[in-house]
């Protein structure tokens, strides 16, 4: 069964450094999402992406964040200058659209900012 994949599984970085989190959505899916979950808290929406542009972004998704779909398979989340409070689990999700609207999640990337 096709699945969403994410790399790396765990990233440790120093405050102020740039990180890129990578996701490979399921191949025929058209809508893509990033979510964040700080340890012990609920899952929060960051951004949605469709037709090569951002559909919606949350208040969390400020100028430090950007997303890109550089080719037909990868979907990346970049954090330009990480802060301590960016430490969280980051999930990528995708849906095919066309009435099939279950979001399939990747396994997540655990980001630790020191």
């Amino acid at each position: 069964e096709p699945e969403v994949t994410q790399t790396p599984s765990h990233q440790v970085t120093q405050m102020g450094q740039e990180v890129i989190l990578r996701c490979v959505p399921i191949s025929n899916h058209l809508y893509f999402y990033w979510y964040r979950q700080i340890l012990g808290q609920k899952v929060e929406f960051l951004v949605s992406f469709y037709n090569n542009e951002i559909s919606e972004k949350s208040e969390i998704f400020d100028d430090q964040f950007s997303v890109e779909r550089p080719d037909g398979s990868n979907f990346t989340l970049k954090i330009r200058s990480t802060k301590l409070e960016d430490s969280a689990m980051y999930f990528c999700a995708s849906i095919p659209g066309g009435g099939t609207d279950t979001q399939y999640f990747g396994p997540g990337t655990r980001l630790t900012v020191l």
């Binding site: 808290q41 899952v43 609207d101 279950t102 997540g108 655990r110």
Partner: protein
């Protein structure tokens, strides 16, 4: 704006027993989806069950079933014959067509032998 409320931070149940997790939501939309996701200690988000709002029939997936009350905006999850592997965090979530998921704060379920 839509909101999702899970009022039970923690629940426990004995193996083989039945447990019900509560969820309420608020929306002015008529067409939407509701989901229950399971998050085990690995922190992977695993879909448990999904309900389309236009369907009156409650969704069922093996030991998991929902009680969907559209007028009351209630969406509870019933787990029958609980197993040790059901121990996890359970999140209720709301979604409009192709829109973002809005999650509740979760219920931590512990299944005891």
């Amino acid at each position: 704006a839509q909101t999702v409320t899970q009022s039970q931070p923690e629940m426990s149940v004995q193996e083989a027993e039945t447990v019900t997790l509560s969820c309420t939501y608020d929306t002015s939309e008529n067409n939407y989806y509701l989901f229950w996701y399971k998050q085990p200690p690995s922190r992977q988000m695993i879909l448990v069950i999904r309900q389309e709002a236009y369907k009156q029939q409650n969704a069922t997936e093996n030991r998991f079933s929902v009680n969907f009350q559209k007028a009351a905006k209630s969406f509870s999850l019933k787990i029958s014959d609980s197993q040790l592997g059901d121990t996890a965090m359970y999140f209720c979530a709301f979604m409009k067509y192709t829109d973002k998921l809005i999650f509740g704060t979760g219920t931590r379920l512990q299944v005891f032998p």
